[in-house]
Symmetry: D2
């Protein structure tokens, strides 16, 4: 199989301060579909075109932020092998197996903490529940979509301290490719890394930051720039807190808008971007062009984008 190993970001578990408000946001504004609640009280969601049981899990907690991000791998054999490789790498800490079923409809997960302090999981099995259309003679999208209705959970951007270690772990152990990076200063210190395990321009990204384990945003993919405008209109109709957009990224070329869930976790919906291949040269941005790299049109960063993380 030409797409092997780590296949995709499969889920993200977010902490929210008020579960009811969060459920309303993720279902009515973002337009995800609630698929389950578990005995712990967690609420599970999927985007409509995902076939797997869930991609977003919300947990009520005292502080917002990300509990962990999970990546689906191609098979149980790969899961074992990657777990061994992560252990052997000496780059991860707090490694453990989480038993099948701890997360609903999901097989056992290998969990570890990256050098930037983020909890990452690998797993090989999650129940297929379909994309709300038959597998034979389907339509092109389901009826009754609501809210922004992205097709898929796409990626997260995470902030942490030991960027070098995390990039090494993702590229050398997990098989990701550095699609784009930002370097700073005369020594060209890497301060941002956009990593892909697929044809998408990024599946996860990291920014160098003094604190460990910070969450910048979870991102969901839309079909096109017209859907970005519709998302912006929905943000205002629901009086959701807007961060920035509609605009375009220089990095990945994506068309984007950022906003906050009621707990202050940042969401992104976006469209576009190029088709990434392993042999496509890595693009590099220098910090004097950081504004244009992040917000191609404004060419400057807004304060909130840099400093507000959960």
């Amino acid at each position: 199989m030409a797409l092997t190993g780590v296949l995709r970001p499969g889920h993200v578990q977010l902490r929210v301060l008020d579960l009811a408000a969060a459920v309303k946001h993720y279902s009515q504004v973002l337009g995800l579909w609630e698929t389950a609640r578990d005995p712990q009280g967690r609420v599970y969601f999927k985007a409509w075109d995902e076939h797997d049981h869930h991609s977003v899990v919300l947990r009520e907690a005292e502080a917002a932020g990300m509990d962990f991000m999970g990546f689906r791998v191609d098979s149980t054999a790969t899961l074992k092998k990657l777990a061994d490789n992560v252990k052997a790498s000496g780059l991860a800490t707090e490694m453990q197996w989480v038993e099948a079923g701890e997360m609903l409809k999901t097989g056992e997960r290998f969990r570890f903490t990256t050098p930037t302090g983020h909890v990452i999981e690998l797993y090989a099995e999650k129940e297929k529940v379909g994309n709300m259309m038959p597998l034979e003679n389907p339509e092109v999208y389901p009826e009754n979509l609501k809210g922004m209705s992205p097709t898929r959970f796409d990626h997260c951007l995470l902030y942490g301290d030991d960027l070098d270690g995390t990039v090494k772990l993702f590229t050398e152990v997990l098989g990701f490719k550095l699609a784009e990076q930002v370097v700073a200063g005369p020594d060209r210190l890497q301060i941002a890394a956009f990593l892909t395990c697929s044809n998408k321009p990024h599946d996860v990204a990291f920014i160098r930051h003094p604190e460990k384990n910070k969450f910048h945003h979870a991102s969901f993919i839309l079909d096109n720039w017209g859907e970005v405008l519709k998302a912006a209109d929905i943000i205002t109709r629901h009086r959701v807190s807007l961060d920035i957009g509609p605009t375009r990224h220089g990095i990945t070329r994506g068309e984007t808008i950022y906003f906050f869930d009621p707990s202050g976790n940042r969401n992104e919906v976006f469209s576009g971007g190029y088709i990434a291949y392993p042999d496509r040269p890595t693009l590099t941005w220098t910090d004097d062009e950081l504004g244009r790299a992040i917000f191609y049109h404004d060419r400057k960063l807004n304060e909130a984008f840099l400093s507000v993380v959960t």
Copy 2:
């Protein structure tokens, strides 16, 4: 690396009746960039966002059609291994190595004929010439784009007799996945197969057809539905022969338009489509829904689409 083996359709060589007219079409209408001409008189083109030296090669000949389609693999080691596997499979004929340089800026190619009679090549090396923008601090697209200016050559659709053999070769030997298929009659005979080696919904597709080695279309990818309209406008401005569109496919969900080069070879430009993963269930269409599968809006096939191949 998570994307391994066969990476992508890397080139297609087409026969044209009048080279000058064809060069004008592929450069001014389609908007590819001419990158070279070789001593044989072949003309090489690339789409703007491809980094490799070329993806379309035109050769003047007595009859239109496709000489061969080439796929880029991830490494020389993979090339050797896949060549061995193809040989071992007993599914291919007329196998040969074409020496490096026979095609400009391209390493050695392993060539074989599929059960449907199509000549397919695998290769691991082609010179990178860039996408007309720097690798440091680029813009989001180059200036002076002309014509439809697709970002990439995307796939071909090919017609031939032994569909079963070719599908077996692509899935079992070359690592492709069957993303969608059409089946006919009470026995559900497979009459069309859409195959992917990536996150794209298809990288090559085959239709069951009485004759061997027929070419239906070469397709190029655009950014969005607005670009499909622009392509349609360009088709009329240049009085290019339109086949059908703008419309949408049921299969792949892509937004599309088909037209003919001056020699009668069919071209497609399209946008959209879902993100394919190896574990996404294969979609099946039945022949009574074939019209909607191919042209989602018209829900019937036009005569030319079915019968005109080169």
Copy 3:
């Protein structure tokens, strides 16, 4: 006031064979809002951004087609004056005043038959019911839009015999301007006239045709080409009979799709087109370019478009 006299197409009354099926089509597929039913059994609809009580009226009958089309004029004084002018012109027949209230929420209407046999009405008063949003601090569109949800009823295309007489009536008596026309043969006989009373490229259009009083289509305006695609998708989801599209008109430049209601009355939804001014030169198309004039991309007419009228 700079926009005076005849302001706009205000309503069209259509005959349908099965009222329930028609109501479903106009409300769920087209996405109009039902605003009333009258003692005669007629059903009234408005598009969401119209402030007037209705723009489409359906009447169950033995044969499909258009009963009449009504134009709103700027005042009662203008209504009287235009009625006098129509009478004085000698161009209209079957002139009569229809009393206020015969059509719900609508003032008295001056009705006449054009030389092409179409029943046209002028009226000055219809109750304002708003566009479903407050007049103070509104949103940009209402929630819960369904179906294609055009913003307005835009125009009709009508077929009839004495095109010269009708064009004379609309331009010399009612103050319309000939925005575009089609002429045929060496004598350049006018065979189509696109007439505007506003900044829109057309408010009504007529085609020369052997029979009197035929109805080709009623058209509704969408925001953009992306909405035309969405309309096309809705057509297929509801298995509505498609005529042609998505495509573009050469005449008016509009982006368009045509389809049939369950009784065989043709509908159009479209977007785009230029801003028309009274001093903009009339555009002329010759019959050898008629295909491109009507369907800019196909450059040929489909049989149904020419011959199917109700």
Copy 4:
């Protein structure tokens, strides 16, 4: 004729600090076509779909800003009549006739100063030079468009002190309609007025401001939201100073982006907006919703937008 009296904004004359830089901006970035230069050194431009000789005139000067804005009226008779009415109104000052030819290809203009201190002209004649396509069997747009290539000059937004007087002049004397307004405080003082003389949501707008005769922006119309993105990309490619956007207005619903010419004059390109009619109710926004009224997504005003005028 249903569209009578004042037809449209016909031209705006802007002062620029460096004519060469300005010409480059208006031709290559905005994408207007230079049509003439006059003995005074002024440079004339038109947008591609305007048939009149020019709509933008640049004059090199010590300070940026607007010299005057001109409106085309339907006839010489109307010009005389409106001039008389302006004189009789007592609302205008510094009234004068400017002789035909003082502005190239333009008939005599009646010039006056509004209560807000802006110089406004009315004229009835300007040479038609066409929209770069034939009047018989044209294409839908010309080839070789460059830059943002708006179809038309659309409106200006002007700042000045005596808003009441200017609104009275435009509505009671010149026949404009108040499409939307902003009111402030418990007394609902009108602080902004959006005025139309057509089906467009605005043809000119005024903001209450302590100084007389300030210029906020000249605006040009694009076809759609995709063109707004393209404009944003062009702004960055040419390193043009961006004010804000892409975004949407609450007022008019338009999709928009603002930027500055090299002299600091603000430009807007936008698309969309509703179809305005004289009987459409005036929309009112209160100052506590001013942010959303102006920038529907951000729901707050940026400092530059409010304070930077020329």
